[in-house]
Symmetry: C2
């Protein structure tokens, strides 16, 4: 599959490059950014996939997270895909709302019309994108972690929990932990997956743990949550996820931070802790 580089910027000792490529699973052109550390010139490097939140795109993390200095030092590649299919022909929320449709793919494979031809972000993240990375860059996919923010934290948790053979480390900032029970999640899952709520559970981190449908190792999940996050109680349900992990004896590492909000100021404050969490599991 052909990919086209459309931007290339040097940063620290590496580069951030943006690529466009035709996506088979989403039936449209997709774009992703990738941070390539200079260490890739000498040997294959560990890979982190970052999943962004609602309204973001492939640029957001690279511009705003403040991750690239330490990623450059650690020699970790980071790929940041877009948050949904894009294009004039891609169906969108009928009211153009920010929380569904464009910019809000929720990392699922849609089964319902008119979404199912394009909104297959689960397969894009777990299959198509890693294939593109391994074909075009010198990343070691046996040392692959996944992390994300908000909707992307939901993506990182669900995808990481369900694919322990693909991802050795998982982390999330302010993730949507129980989408079947929050307004954002209910709207997206009903539209993408239909009215049968039993179909929603496989995309819900709390339900995946509750049902025993995971094989994750202990101590590979880190979560950070700001306590002044306006979405903490209503949309994120971090406490419920922590409880279901305890009930199922899955050890995770949760940090709560007084005064911190939901956005990239919060992320940038703790991004180095997340990179070190992944490095501990990927760089040995």
């Amino acid at each position: 599959m052909s990919i086209e580089r459309i931007k290339n910027d040097k940063v620290f000792d590496g580069s951030v490059e943006v690529y466009r490529h035709p996506s088979k699973v989403n039936n449209c052109d997709m774009q992703f950014s990738v941070f390539r550390p200079q260490q890739e010139q000498y040997s294959s490097v560990p890979l982190l996939t970052w999943l962004s939140g609602l309204t973001c795109n492939e640029d957001t993390f690279m511009f705003k997270a403040g991750a690239l200095k330490l990623a450059s030092e650690l020699g970790i590649m980071i790929v940041t895909p877009d948050t949904s299919p894009r294009g004039d022909n891609i169906p969108d929320d009928k009211d153009g709302a920010y929380d569904f449709g464009l910019g809000a793919g929720f990392y699922v494979n849609a089964t319902q019309a008119p979404w199912q031809n394009n909104y297959n972000m689960y397969d894009y993240i777990t299959k198509e994108l890693p294939n593109i990375i391994s074909s075009n860059f010198d990343a070691d996919l046996s040392r692959h972690g996944i992390f994300g923010h908000s909707m992307g934290g939901h993506g990182a948790l669900t995808i990481g929990l369900k694919n322990p053979d693909l991802y050795r480390s998982i982390s999330a900032f302010a993730p949507i932990c129980n989408p079947i029970n929050c307004p954002w999640g209910k709207k997206a899952l009903r539209n993408y997956l239909g009215d049968d709520q039993s179909k929603w559970n496989e995309y819900d981190a709390t339900e995946i743990i509750a049902a025993g449908n995971y094989k994750s190792a202990q101590n590979i999940i880190r979560i950070d949550q700001g306590l002044d996050d306006e979405f903490y109680g209503r949309e994120l349900c971090t406490d419920k996820f922590e409880q279901v992990c305890k009930d199922n004896e899955l050890v995770i590492d949760i940090h709560r931070h007084p005064g911190h909000g939901h956005g990239y100021y919060f992320i940038s404050t703790f991004i180095e802790d997340h990179l070190r969490h992944h490095a501990k599991l990927l760089c040995n």
Copy 2:
């Protein structure tokens, strides 16, 4: 003068806050962001004023520069004003171009209609904004530095060179060093200041040095320039500025970086060097 806080986010050990206030010199409401380190709770702190480039606003530096971790450690306040007056009633470039009018105040006091009632960014940066800061925050204005990027690098150099009593340290990323001789500068200066080019010289860093109209101390100016910057030759004229400083025996510190471009990936790579340059001159 009343100011209104419209955003407040915790980041590292401090906060980024956005304020709106009526501006007398620009005859409109203006907004600025300010990073407040926790050290301000205990004593007055040094202040850095950051001037952004074309198209940017008060958020850009805070979101993208990656400066706040080290600023938090060093205990330096950073204020980032907007790049022009704003509002529905503010005159703009007749074609809506990015390089003049809104987002492109060029840090001058306009003398020509219809700009002169609103486009007085020189007075805003050197008088009105510092007064607001000293009235509302615990910043030590005897330890005040100025820095900026591109159009804002031009602002930092010209304002810093002309006001050695106000600013003890100066730095710039990819500054427009000789605006009277580049397309961006000629367009802006002709519109804001009129056809008499002798009026332009006071806003041109190279001309200020050439005319001896500065009293800067030695070794207080740092400049970084990417060598893959698309604007390097045509718009920035860094080499000419370096030469005029040599000719006038003003010692400055210029760093050129192969492979680096014009934007925030370049800035974020070297921002900590700039903060340490200012800290050396402001924090003792």
